[in-house]
Amino acid sequence: MSIAVPHGGPVAAPPPPEPTPAEPNYLNHSYGIWSWLTTVDHKRIGILYLVSISVFFVVGGLAAGLVRLNLLSYNSALLTEDAYNRAFTAHGVVMLFFFLIPAVPGVLGNFFIPMMVGAKDMAFPKLNLASWYVFMAGAAFGVWAILTGGIDTGWTLYPPYSSRSSQSNVVPGVIGVFISGFSSIMTGLNIMVTVHKMRCPGMTWGRMPLFVWSLYATSLIQLLGTPVVAITVLLLGVERVAGIGIFDPSIGGDPLLFQHLFWFYSHPAVYIMILPGMGVVSEIITCFSRKNIFGYHAVAWSSMGIAVVGFLLWAHHMFVAGISFYAAMLFSFLSMLVAVPSAIKVFNWTGTLYRGSITFQAPMLFTLGFLVLFTIGGLTGLFLATLGTDIHLHDTYFVVAHFHFVMVGGMVLAYMAGIHFWWPKMTGRMYSDWWSRVAASIIIVGFFLTFIPQFIIGYHGMPRRYPNYPAEFQVYNVMSTAGASILGLGYLLPAFYLTLSLFYGKKAPANPWSATGLEWQTPSPPTVHNFDHKPVVVCGPYEYAIGVDQMGRGLPEPPGPGEAQDPASRSGPTPPPGPQQKETEVVG
């Protein structure tokens, strides 16, 4: 049932003329490596992050490839046990600390938060550049640790193994984590202050794009959580180097203390990784279904809910670690609470599709992939939050599969979606529409084949971090490795067509997807100071139904269903569809 009520909202106005492309933009206003290394332009810093985390993604992916290849045999035929342990640790450390955590905040956040709130830069441009240098310094330690022998503790670094027993480069590794943590804090602080202080006139909290909301929530976690992990790894380093008993019971420490401190950060850290992805998805799903987001306030506040409640459930990683029955009850209960806002988001995204006008370009395909995979990731998390089932599933491949469904199926797909969505804006070039759709499909199929078998062997009890495993699990591991090969191919494709687009891609119009955000009101690529005139926001972020952007101006014709689908084939402004009277519908 739906009731139609007249709305007092904005009506369509003529779209703005296409900005002249000859203007100097942020890419060509100065040249040379030095102009990049000393830049304080948030857009260039975003590109610096993009290049560096892409390298780390390849490094972490190669380590994953080694792990999967080795698991083809049940007796570790390819690698020695020590080499295998180093490979999965390298995969975990690089992917988590040097790819997933900085991915969306560092690349898309740096690039688009100021543009989305109508500012010409971040609140602290120099701190922003410093964050990249600090990140690279931390990453240098991490890479040093991996190249000079590796770390064999797993990314979780549990003592007393890591502090007493491990014969590997734990100290440089934790220094890397320690240092790169500061970069995360700097980025979080910068985004938070920018959102508070730099919004343009009319950009109220209720009109901010949901991407901004989600990064605001992320920044909250980064600011409050990262210092805790910094202290934790520092204590670990002190114990390892100086032999001061903190975590090792043989010298008076408590190993569970480390787990509490570590997960106090590292559980919220998974929300640092996934929340920005949720923001990306909210932007794309509205644009490609030409709809207002269903339940703006629900989606925005659920991000904040996740950020806050996410701090209260760290010990659900420790249900079989020897915590008390009552503590386990409490943390299981709180873990159920955090599942609710995630569920709300999924329902609202689905609701957004309702009566839309949906097209399926690569960003939307990645987003739909996100919705499917993240839903499975979230639902399987319930098995692990439930005490009775976690006993058996803990530390098995079920956990591995769950985590990858959320982090790769969720976060990496959202990141890919965001990169494909904003690539024309960042580079001024369109990539191949066909190849990008092919890549999205291959990645989703490869992902399913990789991780669904892991749920099965995990349910049957195969422990994680096992290069030698009982032969009955081999078929499933071979399937998983086969899927990983397809997944790897899927990741290679964007590397090719995105790179090629820089040289051979068609010039992108200012607003190729006909999106409403302020970032699309600048030329592609943007000028150095983003906006020639201070933008004034007159309405909320997703007025696709009426067809106006946030400044109340009309939108160009969106990419259509037929041959006009390729956004690059449309150039210049299209005539305004004329003022329309549209009614707001209230559903339900």
Binding site: H7, G9, E81, D82, N85, G154, Y158, P160, S165, S166, P249, P255, L256, R290, N292, F294, G295, Y296, A298, A321, G322, F325, M329, S332, F333, M336, A339, V340, I344, F347, T350, G351, L353, Y354, R355, G356, S357, I358, L379, L382, A385, T386, L387, T389, I391, H392, H394, D395, T396, I456, H460, P463, R464, Y466, G560, P561, K582, T584, E585, V587
Partner: protein, 370 residues
Amino acid sequence: MSWILPVVPVMASTLAERFEALFWYIVLVTTGAAVLVYGAMLYFCIAYRRNESNTQTPRILGSTRLEIAWTILPTIIFFTFFAWGAIVYRFAVHPPRDAEEIFVIGKQWMWKAQYTPREIDGVKYTPRVIIGGNPANMDEVDRRNIGRLVVPINRPVKVTMISEDVIHDFGIPAFRSKMDVLPGRYTTAWYHPTRLGEYHIFCDQYCGTWHSLMVGKVAVVTEDEYARFFTGEGSPQGTNNPADGTPAADGRQLFLKLQCITCHSADSQARAPVLEGLYNRPIPGHPGKVADDEYIRESIEQPLEKVVEGWQPIMPSYAGKVTKEEMRALIMYIRSLKPGMTPKRTEMNVPPVGAPVTPPPQDTGSGGKK
């Protein structure tokens, strides 16, 4: 071995049954939810794809009633998971009072189990088994004792665990049980096995190089076999000798120490009958007589009384040379001997009866003066 795993892994304990009920409840509910969401997505994506007749969209901002509904409904469902999960967990972490206790020690990279002592003929015996691990890191005695954890069926068993070095985890998937094994602190798990058989034991907490070899087996056996494990007569633990710390294991050491092995060996130079599978068998040349306890005792103390047909009467008498307990141990050992279990005559380094099975820690010379 089948290449395809069964839909439901083998369930061998009461906890496994409780786990499966809860697990499939969550599977059912989450699958239902996923099908609803995916169905809606698929329908919307097909029905509302853009075409010439579908370029305009309505301005729908949301629905408070729907938001409330899909906030409260999942919350209620999630709380049913929580509540049922807490009930199963409470069952899993609280062993019953009458559970028999087994101590398990984890170290890089092996599991050792030690059973609660049982008194047999006035002497306390404590069976010990090496459950599994990497043989490359063990000494000769431990290697010989690599076997299985033996638990009785239909009776609760409590496992109290501690680690000698780093954190391990003692997990038995068939029992749906798992518990971290911490250094400097006891943790417990308990099982009520319901199905005979042999199941995996895994170390589930990463513990270093040979983590993946810190695996073993648990054998669920009948009450009768369990009793024979305690005396050492049976070897449900799967080693080629009686479990360490049983009367029969003492007998084995006596068998070597008293040089019985010199003649009663299983090789071609044997000068006396091999004793494998002897117990309760008819004795050649002595119709109507079987090799029972009394016959074995007599044959040790008065060997020339009933010599087996075909062998020379060369065995000296051990009367007065073995105590009553030692005699009992020897009989237990001979009762336990199955084909292929006779030790090699050249077995080196026989430790004295009652000696600890693992050597004392080596003094590395790095300690300070005391």
